[in-house]
């Protein structure tokens, strides 16, 4: 050490990483935290999709209901039979493609979230 420049020697000593017995455990903890963060992110994305799908479906359904109820108030109780008939049409593919599309999207998002959850577990 006597012949070496002290600064160089100091930098070299700083460059020598101390040996830790739990080095592997430390690395594992970091990768675990990375994995957890990534899993959480994916689940959040999936959950957001589900919430958005459900919200869209709920909007569509409530819009249908409000239309039907306003018609009911205008046309009176004698239109109840007609309303029932039209409500039935709501769930037929021909009359409410949009609703079914929204439900399908929500289902898809839910399936995505479940798949991701199963992946991570």
């Amino acid at each position: 050490m006597a012949d070496l420049d002290f600064e160089t020697q100091l930098a070299r000593l700083y460059g020598q990483a101390p040996a830790f017995r739990d080095a592997e455990l430390f690395a594992q903890q970091v990768t675990d935290r990375l994995d957890r963060g990534w899993a959480l992110r994916r689940v959040l994305i999936g959950a957001t999709g589900v919430v958005a799908g459900v919200a869209a479906a709920a909007q569509l359904v409530s819009a249908r209901f409000s239309t039907e109820f306003s018609e009911m108030s205008h046309e009176g109780a004698q239109q109840l039979g007609k309303l029932t008939q039209r409500y039935d049409q709501l769930f037929t593919l021909g009359g409410s493609e949009t609703l079914w599309l929204a439900v399908a999207l929500a289902g898809l998002a839910l399936a995505f979230a479940v798949t991701r959850l199963m992946d991570e577990v």
Binding site: L13, A19, A23, L34
Partner: protein
């Protein structure tokens, strides 16, 4: 499926893989440089638990910012800088950073100005003879490869204060580690030009 082997290769290659989303590649970087980062944080003055927490955080931040590392310098240096900044932010937040001009308590040094033989090459032991501010400044400049100017900016203290902390720290370390006399002025001059 066979057993997954950790990726191999140069740090820059592993960093590129990590930037593309390969977490196993980044895990290998953690394995390679985890001890260096933990060691640096302890040398900066962090207790072991804090050092490990900050080191973990530094690697997580490093993973988020890995695309910014393009191999211009050593990966170890890059991640150490992140770790040092995180540690300084932590101690500042907790108001534990006191960078006074007056030296704090000093560990005893041998009668001839040198430490015991067993301590000569033990940097960690020698660092204990420095005040907190000296230890921080010396370790930032020599361990994390910061310039004096960078240290002054991040620590929010005058450049001259950093220089005096480093000089005093180097003098103590030299005495403690029984380095040859006469290199103090050279060391300081070189570091100043680096800054």
């Amino acid at each position: 499926m066979g057993i997954e082997r950790p990726p191999t290769g140069h740090d820059v290659e592993l960093a590129a893989l990590a930037a593309a989303g390969d977490r196993r590649a980044f895990g290998e970087l953690v394995r390679r440089h985890g001890s260096a980062v933990r060691g640096l944080l302890r040398r900066l003055g962090a207790d072991p638990a804090t050092a490990d927490d900050v080191a973990q955080d530094a690697f997580l931040v490093g993973y988020e910012q890995i695309a910014e590392y393009r191999g211009e310098g050593a990966f170890a240096g890059w991640i150490k800088k992140i770790a040092a900044r995180l540690y300084l932010r932590k101690v500042k937040r907790e108001a534990r950073l006191v960078l006074t001009e007056t030296p704090e308590e000093e560990a005893p040094v041998g009668p001839d100005g040198s430490a015991a033989t067993a301590d000569r090459l033990d940097l960690d032991e020698a660092l204990k003879s420095l005040s907190k501010a000296e230890r921080l400044c010396v370790s930032l400049c020599y361990g994390a490869d910061w310039s004096h100017a960078e240290a002054a900016e991040v620590l929010n203290i005058p450049l001259g204060t950093v220089k005096s902390h480093v000089k005093r720290g180097l003098d103590k370390l030299r005495a403690r580690m029984a380095a040859p006399s006469g290199s103090a002025s050279n060391d300081s001059a070189r570091r100043e030009s680096h800054g």
